[in-house]
Each structure stands twice: as C-alpha cells, then as structure tokens.
C-alpha cells in the first residue's frame, strides 16, 4: 500500500502503486523519484517529492531487516538521493503494510505539520508547538503526547532552515533520536514541505507473513548463522562498533587527517573503537546496542560523559573521523558532544565535520581546537550567516572562504577513507550516483560475485571492476530493507547471501536467482543515472577533485591515479 500526500491541500490518497510492484528500498525510492520528479526542478520546489519507503523484507522477522529508505532530489548535490536509515520506523511501517509514502506539493503557509501513521490510516496534523525545536526536544514532545512506543523521524532547526546538509533523525529502540537519514540534505526537503515529523504506531498489527513460511525460516536461519559466526558481525562490531576502523585505516595510511593533508593521525588511537569501547564500558554506557528490531549485529552504542549522563549514541566511525581526525581533534568527549549537536540541530555529521575542516583550512578556527569547532556547530544551530554557510556543506564553505582543497564529489563531502590510499573507494566516490558516498560500494564481494583476488589498495589495477561489483551488490542490499552491515559477513560465508535470496523469494513467492537480484541492483543504478543525466549532471562529473591527483598523501606519498577514461567504464554493464 502507498500513501500519497499533497501538502498544497493536505489531501491523503491511498494507492496500490501498480507502477512500483516488486520493488523495495532504494530500488523503489529511486524509481519513484526518477518517474515522478522533474529532474531539473529545484529541490525545494513543488515539483520535488520526498518519499519514505520500506524494503523487500521490512516488517518481517528477518535478521537485521529494520532499515528503510528516504528519497528525493537532493538540495546538496542536485542529484537523485537515497538515504538509508535504521531505528524502529522501517519495521513499523512494514508491519503497517506500507510500501511507500510519497509527499508532494508545497504547503500554503509556513506551519509545522506531522504525518501520523497507524492502522487507522495516515493523517496530516498541525503541531505548532514543534516549530523551532531541535530534534531531541521534538522527540520528547511527541513522546509525551503519543507515548513511547511510536517511531519518530523528525527534523531540527537546520531542516526548518532548509540547510542543504540537514538530516532527518529517527528514534532507536530506546526512543532516542540517534539514527539519521544523514546524507544529501533530505531534512531540508522535509522542511520545505512543512513536515516537522513523521510518527508511526503499529499497535494491533502482526509481523508480515511470507508466501512460503518454511523457506523463509530456512533462509533466515542461514543469514543469522552467518552473522552470528563471522568474527566481524559477532565480535568486532558489537564490541567496538564501526569505529574499529580508525586504527586500521590509520595504519593503512588512509585516515584523512586535517582536511586530507595526511593519511595518518597521531591521535588516532584516542578516538578509535578500542578506546571508545573502553571509555563506554568504564562509564556504564553500552556497547553492542541494536538500533532496530531484529538486529543481531548490534554495532551501535550509548556513550555517557564523565558524570554518567547519556551524550550520544550510534557513534559511527565516519562521525568520529569527521569531527575528530579530520579536524585534528582527539578528545572523544568533545567529539561525542559534537556528534550530539549534529544530531540535535539535525545536520549530517559527515558533511558538517568536513565543512568545519574546510573552514579550519581557511583559518576560521585552528585545527585541533575542539572548543572552536563546538562554537561553529552552535552557529549552525542559531542559523547565523556563518552557521548557514557551514550548514550548506563543505563545497559552499570552500567557495565562500576561497579554499582550494575541498574534498567533495558532486557537492557532497568525501567521508573517512582517503581515496589516494584506498583507491577502490576512490572509484566509488568519483562515480556513484549519490555524490561522494562510501556506503555506495560497501557490499558483497569476492568469489560470490566473481570479483575475487587481491587488489593492492595503493595501485590502480582492478579497482574499477571492484567498485563496479560493489556498487551493484550494494544497490540490491539497499533495496531489501536489510542493514548493509550484513554484507560484512557474506564475503566469507556464502550461505548468508543464499539466505537473503531465499528470504526475498519466500516473501513474495518469487523464484529469482542471485543474478536476477543483481540485475535489480544494476537497474537501480541505471534509474539513478537517468535522473542525474536529465538533471544536467553528466559523466563528466564522475571524478575526484584535482588535488587528489596532484597532492601526495603521506605516509605512502601516493596520488589518485586511476585515469578518467577508466572511471568512465564503471557503468559498462
């Protein structure tokens, strides 16, 4: 079932979505945007649409199937955007039988509306008391009115102010807004539609059933076994979270430091997963926290300050990097506070950290000065002119301050892996339809997809093929509603991927092969590229900023040297 909401007259229609059968998650959101949004429309115009969609396995008892996708034309990149998020919303919408909510049009007056979804239907309601609130206060008000059991996705002041890096914050299993649909400024699109929050109450619903329950159970068991036995998903992620990558990337010489001027940070160990876990455990916080129903990996955590007060959660590697090494800051408490401020004002912590680093490069503050960085974040919260510049992202910040070293692709900040030292990620950054996005090429690899073998991260050979296969497989996983981190285990345990295929088939009574699902992944990329081309963003934009090709990155003293002509072959399939 689909709901279509027109904010111009606040009408709500129920639809079957005949055009969109057999699609979920990113495949669905990108198809809707490609089909229904005029690619040249301004991201804040009535022609842009914001969609909330569930994945193929949402609302089921499948392991780690709690993710959902938001889609729109991005105000940050001008490209199509899919932003994937955990928390409890995806599962509840799935149980409510909702495949998509399509929001179109613009409201006639600047008011604060919420979309309230339950088994009784979808209702657009005005809640003026939410206007001007940041995310934590918004969540508290909504929970006191509607109870703790609802799932909430809402924007903060950054979204209301239509800052191009605004995110949408979603509540986790404890009801705290620690999960973000972070990238690409979809919070600003939500703000332009006058929607402050979406809330879902799935009381009275049941777990979604399968056409073939026995086959589902068998597939589910295979995936669960893979996740529970692989050392990444059963040990490293629950113990250290994704922040386990800090020391590893630092050692590989690929941890971008002080605005991409070095690949090693002397303070890496202080902000790495090992120190993070030790600090959390010492203070009675929580590691091994699951952000969504059915998560058996539990990579998230709850971080407390020295006084034992909860500061933040879902403290990812990319945020510890963007607000840490990238700024030359190695104080975890300061980084945790900055992460909280990003989540509360409602901006993407990657884009914001990178923008602050670019501002530091310009001399607005000194690298390593965490207090100054915290003040800059407050500027975003207050919506001052400086705050609005930073809140519009790294590219705009670079332009305003005349900085040359601006790490963005298609207007979106490059995250935590330096493409000179990890060249395969560089190919993905350069070519993904989303603007620089590490998660676009994250998925299943090796023998299963015929990638196989060993690439040398410092050499160009084999990287294009690797990135191509990663991007295709990722587009498929992003369409299932599964957390992308299930892919971490599948590299070595082929049964896990079989389990995913079997569950998708069992849910709908299909008989698809892995090849068919990968074809779905390819079609997602084709849809997205069609939209981008129509929006005027051609293959010429598929490259990294030129400093990556010219400036040597210590300690390996390498540049990004994959020829542009080779990058142009990524989508030859």
């Amino acid at each position: 079932m689909f709901y279509r909401i027109n904010m111009a007259d606040l009408s709500v229609k129920k639809e079957e979505g005949a055009l969109y059968q057999g699609l979920g998650g990113r495949a669905l959101s990108s198809r809707i945007i490609d089909t229904e949004v005029t690619a040249t429309a301004h991201a804040f115009s009535e022609g842009n649409k914001l969609v909330f969609v569930t994945g193929l396995l949402s609302g089921t008892g499948a392991p780690n199937a709690g993710r959902m996708s938001l889609g729109a034309k991005s105000p940050l990149t001008g490209t199509i955007k899919e932003s994937n998020v955990g928390g409890t919303m995806g599962h509840k919408l799935g149980r409510l039988g909702i495949r998509g909510i399509i929001v179109e049009g613009l409201p006639q007056a600047e008011k604060a509306y919420i979309l309230r979804v339950s088994s009784d239907g979808l209702f657009v309601e005005e809640m003026p008391e939410l206007k001007g609130l940041d995310i934590y206060d918004t969540v508290e008000k909504l929970q006191s009115k509607f109870g703790m059991k609802i799932a909430i996705g809402c924007i903060g002041t950054a979204g209301e102010n239509r800052m191009a890096s605004a995110c949408v914050g979603f509540t986790d299993m404890e009801g705290a807004p620690t999960r973000q649909a972070g990238r690409g400024g979809l919070g600003a699109v939500m703000g332009s539609k006058g929607i402050k929050a979406i809330i879902a109450d799935d009381s009275g619903t049941k777990m979604v059933s399968f056409v073939d329950e026995a086959a589902f159970r068998a597939g589910s068991k295979k995936l669960a076994n893979a996740l529970l036995t692989h050392p990444v998903t059963s040990q490293a992620l629950p113990a250290y979270g994704t922040d386990v990558l800090v020391n590893i990337l630092n050692e590989a010489g690929g941890l971008p430091t002080r605005n991409f001027s070095s690949g090693r940070f002397e303070g890496a160990n202080n902000i790495g997963g090992e120190s993070l876990a030790a600090t959390i455990n010492e203070r009675g916080g929580k590691t091994g926290h699951g952000c969504s129903p059915g998560c058996i990996i539990r990579c998230s955590q709850i971080y407390k300050d020295k006084q034992g007060e909860v500061v933040t959660g879902g403290f990812e590697y990319e945020s510890c990097w963007s607000l840490g090494a990238h700024l030359g800051i190695d104080n975890l408490d300061d980084i945790a506070l900055m992460n909280r401020l990003c989540d509360d004002y409602g901006v993407d912590s990657i884009e914001t950290g990178v923008a602050i680093g670019v501002a530091m490069e310009a001399g607005v503050a000194k690298f390593g000065d965490s207090q100054a960085a915290i003040q800059l974040l407050h500027e975003i919260g207050k919506g001052t002119p400086l705050g609005r510049i930073l809140g519009t992202g790294a590219e705009t910040t670079g332009k305003v301050f005349g900085v040359r070293r601006v790490p963005v692709v298609k207007g979106q900040a490059i995250p935590a892996y330096d493409p000179r030292a990890v060249k395969g990620v560089g190919v993905t950054y350069a070519t993904t339809t989303m603007g620089a996005d590490h998660t676009a090429g994250y998925s299943v690899t090796a023998n299963i997809l015929g990638v196989g073998g060993k690439v040398d991260p410092l050499k160009p050979e084999g990287q294009v093929e690797l990135s191509r296969n990663l991007q295709i497989a990722t587009a498929f996983i992003d369409s299932t509603g599964l957390c992308l981190f299930v892919a971490f285990a599948i590299l070595d345990i082929a049964e896990g991927l079989e389990g995913i295929v079997e569950m998708c088939n069992a849910r709908y009574g299909w008989d698809k092969s892995i090849g068919d699902y990968l074809e779905m992944g390819k079609q997602v990329l084709r849809d997205e590229r069609t939209f981008n081309h129509s929006a005027g963003i051609s293959d010429g934009a598929d490259d990294l900023p030129d400093f990556f090709r010219k400036e040597l990155l210590p300690p390996h003293n390498v540049v990004f040297d994959i020829p542009k002509e080779e990058l142009e072959t990524v989508f030859n399939f």
Binding site: V232, A236, L245, I248, G273, T445, A446, V455
Partner: protein, 94 residues
C-alpha cells in the same frame, strides 16, 4: 645497533597489550629479519588471533610479512568489516 620496531595491537589485542603491561605501541628490538609467523611465536600470540599484519602501512598475511628493525608493525585480529578486507588488500588470491 639495530632500531627497535614499533608494534601496535588492535581490537582484542589492545586488551592483551594492556594486560601484559605493554605500551601501545610496544617498542621491541629484533635481531634479524623475521616472518610474521615467527614474530607471533616470539610474542606468544596465537596465530588465530591475527588475520593481517601491517608492516609500514601495507597489509600482509602473517606468513608473507617480513619484519626488520625500524619497522612500524600492527597486528590486526579477524574482524575488519568485509569490504575493507578486500579494499585494503587483506584478501589473498587463492
């Protein structure tokens, strides 16, 4: 005189270093070039505890690693997220 090596331990080995009262990085002198496997025996660290050894920022299987004085070395247990094992070159061609 030979230069010492700088040795780091990640994930579970971070704890092991602590328990042994080793600094992290632990500074240690080796007399001759050793393989990763030999280094682990010297350190009394189980083979299963280490998937990859970084030597001067490059990833090697323990059996392929060659370590000499002055090197910066890091021991990485199994647990690096999948795609990075490929992207960082941990996965060895069969």
């Amino acid at each position: 005189m030979s230069n010492p090596i700088e040795l780091r331990g990640f994930m579970g080995l971070f704890k092991v270093f602590k328990e042994r009262n080793w600094s992290n990085p632990y500074i240690l002198t080796i007399e001759k070039i050793v393989t990763g496997d030999e280094l682990l025996i010297m350190l009394e660290i189980e083979k299963e505890q280490v998937e990859i050894i970084f030597v001067n920022g490059k990833a090697f299987l323990p059996s392929d690693a060659r370590i000499q004085s002055g090197d910066r070395v890091a021991l990485v247990p199994p647990g690096t997220p999948g795609p990075y094992r490929v992207l960082l070159g941990f996965v060895k061609k069969e």
